[in-house]
């Protein structure tokens, strides 16, 4: 059963007729792997460097535009976060005695979110990458943009949370909103995307959809009945799941819900947070997805031919995070890489099998068919309330007497003013050799995962 190819086909932007090829712009800060949260802390920026090494050793860089991000300034970060919080982050150093204990408490730094050396430059690089990715999409320079250092979805307006300090996703979406009327945010991290949901809880210009473990699990929000408030009511979707969800179950649920979301919301751009802690064997997570199953989400979304941004997020078994994000970069560019990993700088991390793909664990999927049916139905019900008044929700607020009269907007086409700045074709036509490129496979079911008994991670 093919996992891709389904979806509402919107008219693709100029140059996108070949559904296999996309112009992909990838942001990477070369020093990102040097940042260190502290002894024993599960979040390790080094995983981003490992992913990058795999991407390059597979030769995927030849199909990418690679850029070093511009570091976001305090003012840039202040577009969302509160001034006091940003200035605290900017001045916080790794010396624990120099910190004001009241500020530490107020901004929730210290334990899960320690103040480490280089904290602020780390945040600047993460945010800079995501905002840069947004600008690329706004300008039409790329179809898909990637920032694995981003995706830190727990950070709130005035406090750190869940290993996240600056919410690069919110900043990126605010940038996208300059050129896109409706932005869809999808979060497949095992934890609820609370920071992003909260930031856009009361607006209908951003729809947030989060698939996560719910029930005695961080952060505790993400109940199925949290659907937004005010103008944002029905523009937040939460899919609460139990432990052990596998590729097939997740895919069915994801495709069913996202298809409906695409139908009723018709976003102009999609932001996908690819937190890799939903993979099997994650140190903190409890799902049972393989790398292929995780990447199926991306593959499905890609088939809608809408501009897309891919961001990182959680992921605490670093060898699997690297595998996942490398593979998802490959899916973005339209290449199916070999399962045998190329020799690379971190080769031994991936033993004893040294393969790209991982096996799901033999654990029970505690999501019963009945539970999933109920969840699906409830969510589809919520979404159906958006269908009844297809244009009403996009009207200007009636309380604004000076506002222009709402025109019947043709939602399918981009307004003419935002003409494309890029004329078409790949980034470097010399490197693109169609004979060398692997064709994208559609065989992405669980059956196609390589059965490799020696890969028995414990």
């Amino acid at each position: 059963m093919a996992a891709s190819g389904e979806g509402v086909s919107l008219p693709s932007p100029a140059g996108g007729e070949d559904s296999r090829r996309r112009r992909v712009s990838y942001f990477y800060e070369p020093t990102i792997g040097d940042y260190y949260y502290g002894q024993g802390h599960p979040m390790k920026p080094h995983r981003i460097r490992m992913a990058h090494s795999l991407v390059v050793h597979y030769g995927l860089h030849r199909l990418l535009e690679l850029s070093r991000p511009f570091p976001a300034s305090e003012a840039d970060i202040g577009r969302f976060h509160s001034e006091e919080y940003v200035s605290f982050l900017a001045s916080a150093t790794g010396n624990p005695t120099a910190l004001d204990p009241r500020a530490v408490k107020r901004f929730n730094v210290g334990e899960d979110c320690p103040v480490f050396d280089g904290l602020f430059p780390f945040c600047q690089a993460s945010a800079g990458g995501s905002i840069g990715a947004a600008v690329k999409l706004n300008r039409g320079d790329a179809d898909i943009t990637v920032n694995w250092a981003g995706g830190l979805h727990h950070a709130k307006k005035a406090e750190a949370s869940g290993f996240c300090y600056v919410n690069d996703i919110v900043l990126a979406i605010l940038e996208l909103l300059k050129f896109h009327r409706r932005v869809l945010y999808i979060d497949i991290d095992v934890h609820h995307g609370d920071g992003v949901e909260e930031a856009f809880f009361t607006t209908n210009r951003v729809m947030t959809v989060s698939f996560h473990k719910y029930g005695d699990f961080f952060p505790g929000t993400g109940h199925i009945t949290d659907i937004g408030a005010g103008e944002g009511k029905h523009y937040a979707v939460n899919v609460p799941l139990s432990d052990g969800i596998d590729d097939a179950t997740f895919r069915d649920l994801f495709q069913c819900i996202i298809k409906r979301v695409m139908d009723v919301y018709q976003p102009e751009v999609v932001v996908l947070q690819c937190g890799a802690d939903s993979l099997a064997g994650d140190r903190l997570g409890c799902f049972n997805l393989s790398v292929k199953g995780h990447a199926d989400c991306l593959r499905f979304l890609r088939s809608f031919n809408i501009p897309m941004m891919l961001l990182g997020g959680g992921g605490y078994t670093i060898r699997n995070v690297a595998r996942c994000w490398c593979y998802e970069t490959a899916v973005a560019v339209g290449v199916e890489p070999d399962n045998k990993l190329p020799y690379n700088d971190y080769y031994e991390y991936f033993g004893p099998d040294y393969n790209l793909h991982i096996q799901p664990r033999s654990v029970e999927n505690l999501n019963t068919t009945k539970d999933l049916e109920n969840i699906k139905n409830m969510i589809l019900d919520h979404l159906s309330t958006l269908e009844h008044v297809p244009n009403a929700q996009f009207h200007e607020r009636p309380s604004d007497p000076e506002g222009p009269e709402e025109k019947e907007e043709d939602m399918d086409k981009r307004p003419a003013q935002r003409s494309r700045l890029w004329s078409g074709g790949a980034y470097d036509s010399d490197t693109e050799d169609p004979e060398n490129m692997k064709s994208e496979t559609n065989e992405l079911t669980a059956n196609s995962i390589l059965k490799d008994d020696s890969n028995d991670d414990l």
């Binding site: 070369p30 020093t31 502290g38 002894q39 390790k44 090494s53 390059v56 597979y58 030769g59 860089h61 030849r62 535009e65 690679l66 969302f80 408490k105 334990e111 905002i131 840069g132 300008r139 307006k157 005035a158 869940g162 940038e175 300059k178 009327r181 934890h191 949901e197 909260e198 930031a199 809880f201 029930g215 005695d216 699990f217 505790g220 949290d226 005010g230 139990s242 432990d243 409890c286 078994t317 060898r319 890489p337 399962n339 045998k340 020799y343 700088d345 971190y346 031994e348 991390y349 004893p352 664990r361 029970e364 505690l366 003013q417 980034y427 010399d430 490129m437 020696s454 028995d456 414990l458």
Partner: protein
């Protein structure tokens, strides 16, 4: 020692637990110890399995009529660490000690299982001096608490099964009684109490009543399957959230028809959890993902982002430097460099060839050779980008700027301080390497140290690999920094195969 005193000690402990209240052994000194034990056991079993006397006739005998000395068997199993440990593989030893060549496990379970479970409940202090030599086989020297927890986990799973069984077959007295025998009922009540207390606390947290200092981190939000002993101590919970490698605690609510007895759903999905568990015991703060528990999403200008109304007019000056700066510094593709080198490159997405002409394919040396080869190719292809992207600071080549002594020193400090609960590892490293900046130490840690640990794990303990447990220090580097001498082969002598003392799990 299987003396009558031992049997009497068992009796006194049972009496402490509330069994065999009025039992007195007439003239124990002159009776054979095993008879004394059988008498105690008989009385205990009568209370624990009311109405089922006939299924456990005493004295116990094998199929061929040979009598079984239950006292000896019980003592042997206790000495080996109890029923649970023996189930992990020590039955042969226990059987031998008890001079039995029979299926002892079944026998033990039938006659002595309940006794074993009850006796284990007693705290260490209650044990008589003879039992202090009892080795705890599965503790790895980390103390009794792991054992206690492991037993408690098994009990918890058993108790849950019992509760479900009772719920599903309410009329059967047998099911109820069996649970009583194993002490499940009091445990179930304790769980119910704990959960209702936890709920009350959660409700108050949600109302913002608790400040950060007062509330316990582990209770507010935990990742699944964490045991937190400190939480227990603070709040007097009798029951920790328990799990085991193979058992799940599932929601009993449906079965219990709305009873207050709810056991939260926890499960363990990987062996790394054990390490988390042990870490919890050793350190006061695990990575619990603490949170200000807010189940209701707050609304207001302090929480939401400001989202402007949509305007058909695009922003002005999207081509200005302020905007263009966000495009960052383009690193690839390069303008005019190295176009020739690309022709020789492998196809995009190609993996490695497993066949090579090395003397020992897939050995440490072979792998290191191929990695170096690959990096050289990459350097040719990328040109300056190789350095800009930081590839010169990746991988084991970092170690080339470290002396052997420095590397040995690093490893020694890691072994000493990585498992320490004080979290002072990096301070210690800084003290030992005053001339190296912290960035250099961190880089060596991820690029060399962890990589070599993984190299060792991949070859010596392939079933027990972990890229993320920082406390694991039981390993050695294979070969020197260039990978040479990882495998020594003396061609003048015949090779003999001997069992590797490092290999602990290839046979499993």
């Amino acid at each position: 020692m299987e003396s009558a005193a031992y049997a009497l000690d068992i009796l006194s402990r049972l009496q402490f637990l509330g069994f065999c209240a009025g039992l007195k052994i007439p003239d124990p000194a002159s009776s054979h110890p095993s008879e004394v034990f059988d008498a105690v056991l008989a009385a205990f079993l009568r209370e624990v399995y009311p109405g089922k006397r006939d299924t456990r006739p005493l004295p116990a005998a094998l199929g061929d009529g040979r009598r079984v000395d239950l006292l000896r068997l019980f003592s042997a199993v206790r000495a080996a660490g109890g029923y649970v440990t023996c189930s992990a593989g020590a039955w042969a030893g226990a059987a031998e000690s008890a001079v039995l060549a029979a299926p002892v496990k079944i026998l033990y379970a039938k006659y002595l299982g309940a006794l074993d479970r009850w006796i284990q409940r007693l705290p260490e202090a209650e044990r008589p001096s003879e039992e202090k030599e009892e080795p705890s086989l599965d503790c790895n020297g980390r103390g009794q608490q792991d054992m206690v927890l492991k037993r408690k986990r098994e009990d918890m799973a058993g108790m849950l099964d019992w509760v479900r069984g009772v719920a599903e077959s309410v009329s059967e007295e047998g099911a109820m009684a069996a649970g009583l025998a194993d002490g499940y009922f009091p445990a179930a009540l304790a769980v119910r109490e704990a959960v209702s207390r936890k709920r009350a606390r959660r409700a108050s947290v949600a109302n913002g009543a608790l400040s950060q200092e007062v509330s316990c981190k582990c209770c507010r939000s935990t990742t699944s399957a964490k045991i937190d002993v400190l939480c227990t101590k603070k709040h007097g919970l009798l029951v920790q959230h328990a799990g085991s490698d193979t058992n799940d605690l599932t929601k009993v609510l449906q079965n219990m028809n709305g009873s207050a007895m709810v056991i939260e759903h926890e499960s363990n999905l990987n062996g790394q959890w054990k390490h988390e568990c042990k870490k919890q015991l050793n350190s006061s703060d695990g990575w619990h993902f603490t949170s200000h528990k807010r189940t209701k999403i707050p609304v207001g200008s302090s929480y939401q982002a400001h989202v402007p109304q949509w305007s058909d007019v695009p922003p002005e000056n999207y081509d200005d430097p302020e905007t263009l700066k966000w495009l960052g510094t383009k690193l690839w593709p390069l303008k005019n460099e190295n176009k020739v080198a690309l022709v020789d490159c492998d196809p995009i997405g190609k993996g490695r060839e497993d066949i090579c002409s090395c003397n020992f394919p897939r050995s440490v040396e072979c792998v290191r050779f191929h990695i170096a080869e690959r990096r050289l190719q990459l350097r040719r292809e990328l040109g300056s980008a190789f350095y800009v992207w930081g590839f010169d600071r990746m991988g084991e080549e970092i170690a080339l700027s470290w002396t052997d002594e420095e590397e040995a020193n690093f490893k020694a400090v890691m072994q000493m301080y990585a498992p320490s609960p004080e979290r002072n590892l990096w301070d210690r490293l800084h003290l030992s390497f005053r001339l190296k900046r912290k960035k250099e130490l961190v880089s060596y840690y991820f690029n060399c140290f962890l990589l070599r640990r993984r190299c060792y794990q991949n070859r010596i303990t392939p079933r027990k690999i972990d890229s993320d447990d920082e406390e694991e220090t039981e390993f050695r580097f294979l070969g020197n920094s260039l990978g040479q001498s990882a495998t020594k082969y003396d061609s003048t002598k015949q090779t003999i195969c001997i069992q590797s003392t490092n290999c602990m799990d290839l046979d499993q």
